[in-house]
Amino acid sequence: MTRTDLAIIGAGPAGMSAASTAREAGLSVLLIDEQPEPGGQIWRAIERNASTRPEALAFLGPDYADGAARADRFRASGANYWPSSMVWHLDCPEEGDKTLLVAWDGVTRQVQARTVLIATGAMERPVPVPGWTLPGVMTIGAAQTVLKSSGLYPEAPLVLAGSGPLLLLFAAQCHAAGIPVAAVLDTTPSGAMLRGLPYLPKALFGWRSLLKGRRLMRVLAQSGIPVYRQVEGLEALGAERVEHVRFRSGGKAVKLEATTLLLHEGVVPNPQLTRLIGCEHRWDRAQRCFHPVLSDRGETSVPGVFVAGDGGGIGGAIAAENAGRIAALEIAEDFGAVNRPSGDIEIVKARDNRRAQMAVRPLLDAMYPPPAWIGKLDGDVPVCRCEEVSARAVRGAAADGAPGPNQAKAFLRAGMGPCQGRMCGLTVTEILADAHGKEPDAIGYYRIRPPIKPVTVGELAALDGAD
């Protein structure tokens, strides 16, 4: 069994920054991460790319390259670091330490932590368009992950579809890397600029992000990649795998050849750990997802458990780093490891930095509203991929009296597969909310059960900690 003052889950911007800050204050820190090296999703494989594939740094862009210095600082911090390790259970009794169960190399390691920081970031919003389960259809994030970690890129003809900054960024990265993109299907409803206008003044505090956005739009415009705007009714078609995409754009029906279709409709907090421990969550109407309810300190409704980074609300890497720093300083103050006045000054600075980063969010939310059609889904389209449950079946469960996703899960098996509901949780809640004419807050979300990702029978049986 391992004991620590602070256990951090996730080695992305928030986790690394919190680890470095907490170490400076003298806390014992254990950082646990699923990847073999630090960086999270945004800086995935940064150390390997920085040392062996400089050309990748060029086309992945300067924001990606920035990760190398962050990883160096974290490595030098003296934090205990478990890479390639998966936290599959977190237990937070009312009194005493939290317990983390971690699968690593065929065994389960037990950790007792005085405090826990969840820095597990965001995941892509599942986009259940007809045909989304066909081979060849993936998310942009998944394709980007492969591009970062192995330099492999998807088969042509490649079609990108969706809305928001990552769509633009990935199109620009593909272009810079010489990866041919057959078409970009922009699903953003018309009037994005108009919707954004009221939020522009405040967003100017985040002018750096705005400039980045402008630059990406220009790169896309100059790339010669055909862009279809106001895309609606997107479908992936094919027998064994995706062969075509069909959609409407500007009132016209279009059908294109596609061997790969990459979807992206924004990112949402990864809810698995905060749901597992029963934190309070609230529905965010603008972003159409649940957020864990956090105090100014970054603490959840479960005392001693903090969330920093995109897992608490989407803000990007720099906001996440500052949130990680805030949480670490607050925890250090609780332990009396830093003196309050100087700690408070650092907290104020980090809060201001974070606020500047978050300033642009309302503008982005208004310009790129998350898809409203998901809650209206019906018919054969599979909602739960693991158990092949259709939108129609979810509506049927509602009609049979299922008040929320847990009874629907019992009726349909939706959410019971290996992904533990990650791919259908939001969709099922939205459909039930629509069917019952209620707000998602009143409908709720799946109770998440351990393991939050699959572990083997052998790993479960080999539990350490009887020491």
């Binding site: 009296g401 847990n406 290996p418 393991p451 052998g458 479960l460």
Partner: protein, 372 residues
């Protein structure tokens, strides 16, 4: 405004839904009052066995009642299909309880002899079989398996489909299902009952309390003392696999979907439904001993749920003597007994003579003073 029906069933789990379905079959107007989406819900956490062997050690009536439910099951499943129910994946092809090592084998054998010696235990088909015969039935067992007890009467269902089917069939027969209606108080009201819930007030002629653990605090409102307690069990579910468990085991069953469920653990943990890692490790450790080949299979889900346990482990059924027309129904075998609850117990609620019929399951058995 209070809405009224012939019978209110408090509890929408397997016991309540089975009784409600049975009442609705008899033509009664029924209202099921259930809690919201999140509750203790043993009915969503159980294992799905329709299990006969070993039950009734100490109470022959329970052995008979279990066997009766088992015998009714196929007709019960077919009956629900006629009323908008779904296929509950019923299979009654016999089951095994594996033994590890010689001591385990001789203890199981002794329990069979003990039950044979109790008059009226109608369970004579249970028998011991050796490791080689077990291997014929379950080829993946490991070298530590020393044998098993076998009964041809054991079977299983998909418990979630059973719950869904009961709800659908009861509603098709006119039962009304109200969720978010946690019961707050029950009172006599003229010649009927008035039930106050989080979703309003409901009136009925008769009242059935089938609320699992909550019978402990609801039944006293009609003058009954039901000393049930939570008994925590853990279940592990694997990823889907090719069929590797052709025979049902008391602690492992492969579902129609291909997942394997492991369970059969017991623990005193109060009302805590969190996971005990040591218990999971114990179950996983025993899986590796029973079936070494499954060591690298992935577990996709685990949970714990609370069995509704009487001090002696047997059902408690009783009509109130101070408030006739109010019934308390508790047991931990909501799946196994569902057929008997629907087709036999429910009609007795309407037809009278309930306490005579189920005298063996009266809570009076816990109140016998040592001097008596």
């Amino acid at each position: 405004m209070a809405r009224s029906s012939d019978v209110i069933v408090v509890g929408g789990g397997l016991v309540g839904a089975a009784v409600a379905y049975g009442l609705a079959r008899e033509g009664a107007s029924v209202t099921i009052l259930d809690e919201g989406d999140v509750a203790f819900r043993a009915s969503r956490g159980n294992f799905g066995l329709v299990w006969v062997q070993g039950k009734g050690d100490g109470l022959p009536d329970y052995a008979d009642w279990t066997r009766r439910s088992k015998d009714l099951y196929q007709g019960f499943a077919d009956g629900m299909l006629e009323h908008n129910g779904c296929d509950i994946e019923l299979k009654q092809e016999g089951g095994l309880s594996l033994c590890l090592g010689e001591d385990d084998y001789s203890e199981t054998e002794a329990s069979i002899h003990r039950m044979h010696n109790q008059p009226g235990v109608g369970e004579n088909d249970r028998r011991m079989i050796g490791a080689d015969d077990v291997r014929e039935m379950v080829p993946i067992i490991g070298p530590e398996v020393s044998g098993a007890s076998y009964s041809p009467h054991d079977g299983h269902v998909n418990p979630l489909y059973l719950l869904r089917s009961l709800h659908a069939a009861a509603q098709q027969l006119g039962a009304r299902y109200v969720s978010g209606a946690k019961t707050l108080s029950i009172a006599k009201d003229g010649d009927g009952f008035r039930t106050e819930t989080e979703a309003g007030i409901f009136r009925s002629g008769k009242l059935v309390i089938a609320a699992g653990i909550a019978n402990k605090w609801l039944a006293p409102m009609v003058g009954l003392d039901i000393p049930v307690r939570p008994d925590r069990g853990h279940i592990l579910i694997t990823e889907r696999m090719q069929p590797v468990l052709p025979t049902l085991l008391v602690n492992a069953r492969q579902t129609a979907d291909g997942t394997i469920n492991f369970g059969n653990s017991h623990e005193e943990a109060g009302y805590d439904t969190s996971i005990n890692p040591a218990k999971l490790a114990e179950i996983a450790g025993s899986i590796v001993r029973y079936f070494p080949i499954l060591k690298n299979v992935r577990v996709v889900r685990t949970w714990s749920a609370l069995r509704v346990m009487a001090p002696d482990g047997f059902p408690i059924y009783r009509e109130s003597e101070t408030a006739p027309g109010a019934f308390s129904i508790s047991c931990h075998s909501g799946v196994t007994l569902a057929a008997a609850h629907a087709l036999d117990l429910a009609p007795s609620i309407l037809n009278g003579g309930f306490n005579d019929r189920f005298a063996a399951f009266s809570p009076e058995r816990f109140h016998v003073s040592p001097a008596a």
